[in-house]
Amino acid sequence: MKRYYLDANATYEILPAVKESLVALLDGPRSFSYLNGSSIHAEGQKVRALIDAARADLYRYVRLREADFQIVFTSGATEGNNTALLVPFEMSSAKDSLKPEYAGHVISTSVEHSSVEEGLQRLERAGVEVTRVRPGSDDIISPDAVLRELRPETKLVSMIWANNETGVIHPIPEIFRAIQRASPNCILHTDAVQALSKLELDLSSFPFDFLTIAPHKFGALPGIGISIVNKRLPLKPLAVGGAQELKWRPGTENVVGIVSIQAALAELSKLITRYREVITPLRAEFEERVLAHYPTIEVIGKDAPRLPNTVMMRLPGILTEDLVVALDLAGVSCSRGSACSSGKQLGSHVIGGMNYPKEAGREVLRLSFPANFQESDLETVLERLFQCFERFGLRTKASHSDTIPASVH
């Protein structure tokens, strides 16, 4: 049975170009056998050159100057998000205590990824006050709503750019510009994991201090992330022990991961173009067909600016825990929300953080089309999806009109 992968927001397919670059790194005439880029000797220098070249490509891609920003390789966006939250308070992720001089206020949102949300909870346990701004009736976080919460002691604003579950894009540049005008020393962090992998962004057009990226969302290996850190801040890293990454992230660099980023980055513009030109209309058709067939289904954030590939559906009355499994068995890979919460089925806290009843968090299904999804596969996906919906007793338009004849109206 042919399988259809509709979970690009969890991870993207490792790109063929990435695989080739990794094979070349580890096998063949120009392969590497020593991968410590901090060594002085010839082997180390060759590795350093690889890391520097990848970093230079990244600076070019994001169009930021090395004089202003440090691009730091991390273990992933979770580390990046944790660091952005805890470092301003001189907290380590291992302890809950906080020095009194670091107390303060944080503004975030009710729709963060758990790597931010749980970091916020840790700050709260340590005595930091956290305000979570909720999206308005238009499902987005408005700059005014954030400004209203700003206080003189607000130390950090941390906001997701595009939500991983719903795909809703929040106006981060506008929000950060407004915050900086009102409170220039406030630290600004955005989780740009989904946004950067699906949208063309201009990172030089607005102020920020931390920006988190997960390259496996656009075809690199998992286990490596990127943090972009503004050099204006005299901040200390969480870990100590080496001078790598300008001391921002001590530890021998993950060169295999870095090489995979460089290869994936070379393809990213093509991916984003395809999302915009092919996947956007394809998703529109998909949603139209689903909603026409199943009138009780609701697309979360349908009228808000959204990532081109993400469809978060609410199926009222259906606990979608099983639906994801049924679809998997039918050869359609998707999820209920964040892949990170798929072990224990608590439902989506993101939906709870929006203007939906609590139970809605357990009634959602997320499809996230990859850029390379083939238009010709849409029919089969819809067929399999509808077959599963039927088994779960979802009411179709047909069954609807069976019970309520049109002539009655």
Binding site: D322, V325, L329, Q387, F392
Partner: protein
């Protein structure tokens, strides 16, 4: 849309133990399209239990099940059944102890969680049947489905399955019914299944310490301390909660100085009195059973209206004694034939044919005439 062919699609309940692993292996080899499922019914991380001593639902059990499923080459999922399990099994477990009776959580779990809930899931997953690693034989005959004790007498688990209905049996598979535990382990070893030598799970799966402690901690204000009394009402000691006692229990009473061991005869949940006496005082001519279900096709519905010779089993480890049973007004009246045993209210009484092989049906033991248990003995005396 075409109708799906579900004939060969089976959900296999996998606990991570050797029995369910082999069940999945055998079905898969027989050509069934298997889906491995573990039911998370109890999260030890949330309940302060010691996951080393946990007998299932520990993260390592799911890892075992996942690894076995991967080796067999079948998909595998963990389903969260915690809410259902709490409502249908744990709450009832505690309520029964609080009421001075002895619960049987494995029966409730099989009836209300494993077969009912899991079957609902199976349907939505596009599977027709549910399979488990129970040591039970299931036969399809022209008149319907018949359930027999498993070939391995020591492992037979039919006692827990008396609640199954005919239509459920038609969608159930027990691949281990014709096997002994030794054979199951050999099959596992030959197939290189990693759980081949995994120790047996013991006792009640969600209790990692003692049942007394588990229940005592959770009863809170419902804990009922009281007195030990002889049949005539004379107080002979005190205890810290009726939940620690089961009718017929001898161990753990802490009463000495009598010329023969004392047994629990009766429990009065209202006053908290536990009546004790000699073994001979436990003897009853019979007992009543309610909440009946009849499995045998000829008995489905009402059960035997006329007196019928059966074997009755009143505990998991009990082998059954001959008895006569008839049903009136939804209550089975059981009378012992030549041996007696002490039925503990709350436990399951399960009926087998006179050869003690075929499962006929069962229900819950209640005090005579359904009145509070403490009145019964004195009326009979």
């Amino acid at each position: 849309m075409e109708k799906e062919d579900l004939t060969g699609k089976v959900v296999v309940a996998m606990s991570g133990g050797v029995d369910s692993s082999v069940a999945a292996l055998l079905l898969s080899e027989a050509g069934f399209d298997c889906v491995g499922v573990s039911m998370q019914v109890w999260d030890y991380r949330n309940h302060g239990g010691c996951s080393n001593r946990a007998t299932c639902c520990a993260p390592s059990d799911f890892a075992d099940a996942r690894s076995v499923a991967n080796d067999i080459g079948i998909p595998y999922y963990v389903f969260d059944f915690e809410e259902k399990f709490h409502d249908k099994v744990i709450a009832r477990f505690l309520d029964t102890y609080a009421g001075g009776e002895t619960p049987n959580p494995c029966v409730d779990c099989n009836n209300d969680v494993k077969f009912r809930e899991l079957r609902n899931r199976a349907v939505t997953l596009g599977c027709r049947s549910v399979a488990t690693g129970h040591y039970v034989k299931l036969e399809s005959r022209p008149d319907g489905f018949h359930v027999f004790r498993g070939k391995d007498d020591k492992k037979d688990q039919s006692y827990f399955l008396y609640g199954l209905k005919q239509d459920e049996l038609s969608k159930t598979l027990f691949p281990l019914g014709e096997l002994s535990k030794v054979e199951v382990r050999e099959i596992a070893k030959a197939a290189g299944i990693k759980t081949a030598d995994k120790p047996e799970s013991q006792d009640i799966c969600f209790v990692s310490g003692t049942i007394d402690d588990f229940v005592g901690e959770r009863l809170g204000t419902r804990r009922k301390p009281g007195a030990f009394r002889l049949k005539d009402g004379q107080k002979v000691g005190e205890h810290d909660g009726i939940h620690r006692f089961t009718v017929g229990q001898r161990k753990g009473l802490g009463l000495s100085g009598y010329d023969a061991p004392l047994y629990v005869l009766e429990i009065d949940p209202v006053k908290g009195d536990v009546y004790v006496g000699y073994k001979s005082e436990l003897e009853v001519p019979g007992f009543e059973v309610r909440e009946l279900n009849w499995v045998h096709p000829a008995l489905v519905g009402g059960g035997p209206a006329e007196e019928m010779l059966v074997h009755v089993q009143v505990r998991h480890k009990h082998r059954g004694v001959p008895a006569k049973v008839f049903v009136r007004d939804g209550v089975a009246n059981v009378s012992f034939v030549d041996e007696w045993t002490s039925p503990a209210p709350g436990q399951a009484a399960v009926f087998y044919d006179p050869e003690n092989r075929e499962l006929l049906g069962g229900g819950r033991i209640v005090g005579k005439s359904g009145r509070p248990q403490s009145l019964k003995l004195f009326e009979a005396a």
